[in-house]
Amino acid sequence: MSTETPGPNITSRPSGRAARERMYRYVLLLCAAASILVTVSIVVLLARDAITFFTLVNPVDFFTGTEFLISRNVYGLLPLLSGTLLVTVISAVIALPTGVAAAVYLSEYASDQMRSVLKPGLEILAGIPTVVYGIFALVYVTPFLQTIGLPVNTFNILSASIMVGIMIIPMVSSLSEDAMSSVPDSLRQAGYGMGATKFEVTTGVVVPAAASGIFSSFILALSRAIGETMIVVVAAGSRPRMLNLSDPLANLFQGYQPMTAAMVQINSADSVSQLGFTSLFAIGLTLFVITFLLNLLSNRIAARYREEYE
């Protein structure tokens, strides 16, 4: 709060006090500026090695190459991107409708008692470590998929994506619920006044009115799915592979290696050339830029929407 402190000469140690007040202010400012420092050091340090990499590997080759084989010094990002894309798409198919439906239920239908059970329950989903989700996928979901007759490999993109989807449900539902509950009640009353049923008000008034908030939660969730690491490291396999467009369904049952999993593998591999090691930073920088842009976009949309109703 910007209330000015009272005049200096009230108490006994004016000069020392003013100096100290200034000192506290600057120390605290330093703390706040630390976040900028973190961002800058991420960009600078990642870029430093990524530039080394790009002087040796043509960026065009990197971003359009269809093969990623460190042992043969072939670095094409597309196989890793297709793994990431698959995880994102499948988990979005699971999480987005589920999350929005959950938000609708929590914001429009749930009694207070139901909400007091379900909301913390969903928060717990977000608090489970991702390595645990990965283990769920590998040890329990994949065998389950096999028993119900799907031809999945031990490492497959489907079970990993299912767990990523479940993991991001709370993110979609809580942000969408915020958006829905900040839709003014007058809009709902107007709907009821027109003779609409609760269902019609919910789907025809509340959800469209909260659309930008819901959309921003989608983008945030996608960014989370893109950056998710441990689930795919544990359960999605370690083979970079291009998307097979001729047989889309078969894609689901194979193992892929998303960008995050590739980073972990490169870093923990025993013998990696210097060039291979710097490719880690090129991939990391790409991942950082993608997620950063998505987060920024989501913030923009959410901010615009917030202005509309407050």
Partner: protein, 566 residues
């Protein structure tokens, strides 16, 4: 125009289709809400089954414990839920407090066993107290010398804790002393007070030092709390006296129970003392006293159950998650594998995070909420910081790992996979979360409090320290505990900075290579042996989740208390 009769209604009222559609929609939404919860619950049941293997026990064993523990506790829970809600909360807290206390005990035991000896702790604390005393004394003696005090504030802790490294300054002092005919032997470095204490020929025994430096301060804090609450100095002193008495009793009782005096002191400090204060408060208020039956019934049930199963000769289950698992190192054979060294690693990582991230995060939140201008160039900068913090919260954890690798290992050349690197990398990851939650807590302090403080002539910093922070503390604590829960489970940064896959020995310095719980669990997940994959792995997962559950429950309890009073 006559208004319509209400019975005729409007066109859609009697149409079943609309209702059906609405109901179906509601049911679908409910199912969607439950989908994630139910599937994770099922998976958790599978893991728990793998970890505890309850069905490997005799049917008689299960039946006995069901009768002595499960049925009474379930009956009590239903009773509290239906008829006596305050008692339910008392039951919840009295069962939870000992668990949290034991967890803290474990954390401190790790600290004393693996990291510091009790003597080092004692010396460190005494040195810090002396440093604090110097600062206060300087403030009293020379209240106007602000710059001088800055030097004292910085130098006093450094000299008392670390001593002075070999510098020109030392030579200068030594030369000057030699010119006066004295010999301090300061050529290399000035020894710190901490080191001086550790070199003393006679030191008190461990338990005396623990009593002085840990039990009494904590008891003093509890006594102060009771004194404030009840406005009775006598009650506060009684708390301190009783705690000290029970603690001293441990000199005899600890070895008799086979837990040692030190562990007894820790248990008294972190489990018995808070539980005692809470139970006494419940009894005195007379609210929800029936809730105390719950922990009593639990303990009685376990005792009776073990007597009965022992007498009838029922064999218990053979769980993967047992005492041996918690106290031994990992191993190539599944039956011997344990999680202990990585638990120590996690505890030490948390210490690093608490010491580094927490002050910076809270400091940043204070600046953004209390100082930050909203106009001008500085205002733009502050907006940039705010947006940036929001975005940092969304940066993938693996990128933070990469940052840790690049910054701490490649630029600063710190040892790869060491506790300090892990703590700092994960600390940076949770920094935005700490800042955002602390900001929310500070924002919720009413502005009238600040105005009142300014009206009394307080400066901004005095207002923050004595009015805003105490009010916001529960909120900040809640947020921090949740963030620490997140930190314990993070794995990707640990992989990137090269935390050890499996270590046989627990780390005993912050620069040692260590493993942390999630890292250890991850390395078990790549074992193909089914007894690893379904047994050891499940036990590790349950251990990790149990720690998280306790932390989250603590945060929720703090939040609930705070919301009620605030």
């Amino acid at each position: 125009m006559a208004t319509r009769e209400p019975e005729t209604g409007w066109h859609g009222e009697n149409s079943d289709v609309n209702h059906l559609r609405g109901r179906a929609f509601e049911a679908t939404c409910l199912a969607a809400t439950a989908f994630g919860l139910v599937s994770v619950l099922l998976l958790l049941l599978f893991v728990a089954n793998d970890a505890f293997r309850p069905f490997s026990a005799d049917a008689g064993w299960l039946a006995t414990y069901a009768a002595t523990v499960l049925v009474p506790l379930a009956a009590l829970a239903v009773y509290y839920y239906r008829l006596d809600e305050p008692a339910g909360e008392v039951a919840y807290v009295t069962s939870g407090l000992p668990v949290v206390g034991l967890l803290l005990t474990g954390g401190f035991a790790v600290l004393f066993i693996e990291l510091l000896s009790v003597l080092e702790w004692f010396a460190l604390l005494i040195s810090l107290v002396v440093a604090g005393g110097l600062i206060v004394a300087h403030g009293r003696l020379r209240p106007k010398a602000a710059l001088e005090r800055l030097a004292v504030v910085l130098l006093a802790p450094i000299i008392t804790v670390f001593g002075l490294p070999p510098t020109r300054f030392n030579w200068f002092v030594t030369d000057a002393a030699a010119a006066l005919g004295l010999d301090f032997g300061l050529y290399y470095r000035v020894i710190s007070l901490r080191e001086a204490i550790m070199m003393l020929p006679f030191v008190p025994t461990d338990w005396v030092m623990l009593l002085l430096t840990l039990v009494l301060p904590v008891a003093g804090a509890a006594g102060w709390f009771v004194e404030q609450r009840r406005e009775s100095r006598r009650d506060g002193l009684a708390v301190v006296g009783l705690t000290a008495a029970v603690a001293v009793l441990g000199v005899v009782a600890g070895p008799l129970l086979g837990i040692g005096t030190d562990v007894w002191l820790l248990i008294v400090t972190f489990a018995v003392l808070p539980l005692g204060v809470y139970v006494e408060g419940v009894l005195r208020r007379g609210e929800g006293v029936r809730g105390l039956a719950f922990p009593v019934a639990a303990v009685l049930g376990v005792v009776v159950g073990s007597v009965v199963t022992g007498a009838l000769g029922f064999a218990g289950p053979d769980p993967w998650l047992d005492w041996g698992f918690l106290t031994s190192a990992t191993s190539r054979t599944a039956a011997d594998a344990g999680i202990y060294p990585s638990m120590v690693g996690s505890v030490m990582m948390i210490i690093v995070i608490v010491l580094t991230t927490f002050p910076v995060g809270v400091g940043a939140a204070i600046y953004l909420e209390e100082y930050a201008p909203s106009q001008g160039l500085m205002g733009k900068f502050v907006t940039l910081i705010e947006i940036n913090i929001g975005n940092l919260a969304g940066v993938p954890s693996v990128v933070y790992g990469l940052l840790g690798l690049a910054l701490f290992i490649r630029v600063l050349q710190w040892p790869q996979g060491s506790v300090i690197v892990a703590g700092l990398a994960v600390g940076l990851l949770i920094l935005p979360i700490v800042i955002i939650s602390a900001q929310e807590a500070i924002r919720s302090v009413p502005d009238s409090f600040r105005q009142a403080s300014y009206g009394m002539g307080a400066t901004r910093w005095q207002t923050i320290r004595q009015v805003v922070l105490p009010e916001a503390l529960p909120g900040i604590l809640t947020g921090t505990i949740l963030a620490l829960g997140r930190a314990i489970g993070e794995t990707a940064p640990l992989l990137m900075i090269g935390a050890a896959a499996s270590v046989r020995l627990a780390p005993n310095s912050f620069f040692d290579v260590a493993s942390m719980m999630p890292r250890q669990i991850f390395s078990w997940s790549s074992e193909l042996d089914p007894s690893f994959r379904h047994g050891v792995l499940a036990a590790g997962v349950i251990t990790l989740l149990a720690v998280l559950l306790v932390m989250n429950a603590t945060a929720i309890v703090i939040r609930n208390r705070y919301q009620r009073t605030g």
